[in-house]
């Protein structure tokens, strides 16, 4: 037997594609958000509520990932933004799928591209898509202990949106305990308790996101004129 040393990251191929995506996004000054959650936490509803106010200031497009149907892309289009649906048997999106999608979905004129990942609490965390910002959506009724049970995606997120806080009084979930658990596994993440249904907390989230998009745009413009 002969030993052949490899010493390679298992997901290096995806990392390479993601690096290509990131360079391409940077060259265009396009801000990219990868949004992930378990199925049913409210990713698409959060986008419907977010794209309206952001659409007044930025040119926004959405790539939707689902195993089946174009229900989500249709919802985004009805909310007024161009959308592209990826259907895949994978349990997460990969960087190469984003490259394929961008070949068909014009993103040159956009300021913000949101990629809605496939509903899943584990896998998307391992697959860099080339995004600037990772956002976890978590609905309070899923249980206060879940950030500890599924820490990786929370840990990798720059922002955690705790959705459906209007439902908390009808459950045994303590939002305070949930927030504490989120901060334990993801000390650097910004946390936004919201209700997409009532609108509570959404303004703080939208303004926070808008500031980040704005700041990348300004860096890009100053880079062009240098």
């Amino acid at each position: 037997l002969e030993r052949l040393t490899i010493e390679q990251k298992v997901l290096r191929k995806n990392d390479d594609y993601a690096a290509e995506n990131r360079a391409r996004f940077a060259a265009r000054g396009l801000y990219v958000v990868n949004i992930w959650s378990a199925p049913g936490a409210g990713k698409t509803t959060l986008l419907e509520k977010t794209l309206g106010p952001l659409g007044e200031r930025f040119r926004v497009g959405v790539i939707e990932g689902d195993i089946q149907t174009s229900i989500d892309a249709d919802r985004i289009r009805r909310a007024g933004a161009p959308a592209f649906q990826i259907n895949t048997n994978r349990c997460h999106l990969e960087a190469a799928m984003i490259q394929d999608a961008l070949a068909e979905f014009p993103s040159d004129a956009l300021d913000l591209l949101v990629i809605e990942n496939i509903g899943n609490m584990v896998c998307p965390a391992g697959y860099d898509l080339g995004e600037d910002l990772r956002v976890m959506v978590f609905s309070v009724a899923e249980g206060a202990e879940k950030p500890k049970k599924y820490p990786k995606m929370f840990h990798r997120s720059d922002a955690v949106v705790l959705n459906k806080i209007d439902l908390a009084p009808y459950t045994d979930v303590s939002v305070e305990e949930l927030e504490r658990n989120v901060r334990d596994v993801s000390p650097h993440a910004a946390v936004f308790p919201v209700s997409c249904r009532s609108g509570a907390g959404l303004e703080a989230w939208v303004e926070w996101l808008a500031a980040r998009i704005q700041s990348k745009g300004e860096t890009h413009v100053s880079g062009d004129t240098r």
Binding site: L1, E2, L4, E7, Q8, H92, K148, K152
Partner: protein, 115 residues
Amino acid sequence: MHEAGIAQSILDIASDVARERGAHRIARVKVRVGDFSGVVPAALEFAFDALKAESLAAGAALEIERVPIAVKCPNCGSTDPPAADLALWCTQCTTPLEILAGQELDVQYIDVEEE
């Protein structure tokens, strides 16, 4: 089960290297899996065994080296392990901890039979 995709990536990497080097059989694949990688070793072994049949690694053993989580406080330098329930704050000075190890997911080497 996302370990299936991970196992397939491991088999692809191992098979590519074996083919490049003219090996006709892979006897062992050695990987490093961090305790904070999001990969469950037992599920990875199951997926590897289920997927290896059609590859050069059909008879290969998967050897998994687990890497425990190691942290460091960027403020006070403490390397005390995080609390058992994964609170990533320094127990000495309550600063967010840096993760030094435990996120690995690497193929280290393969043992092959030459042609």
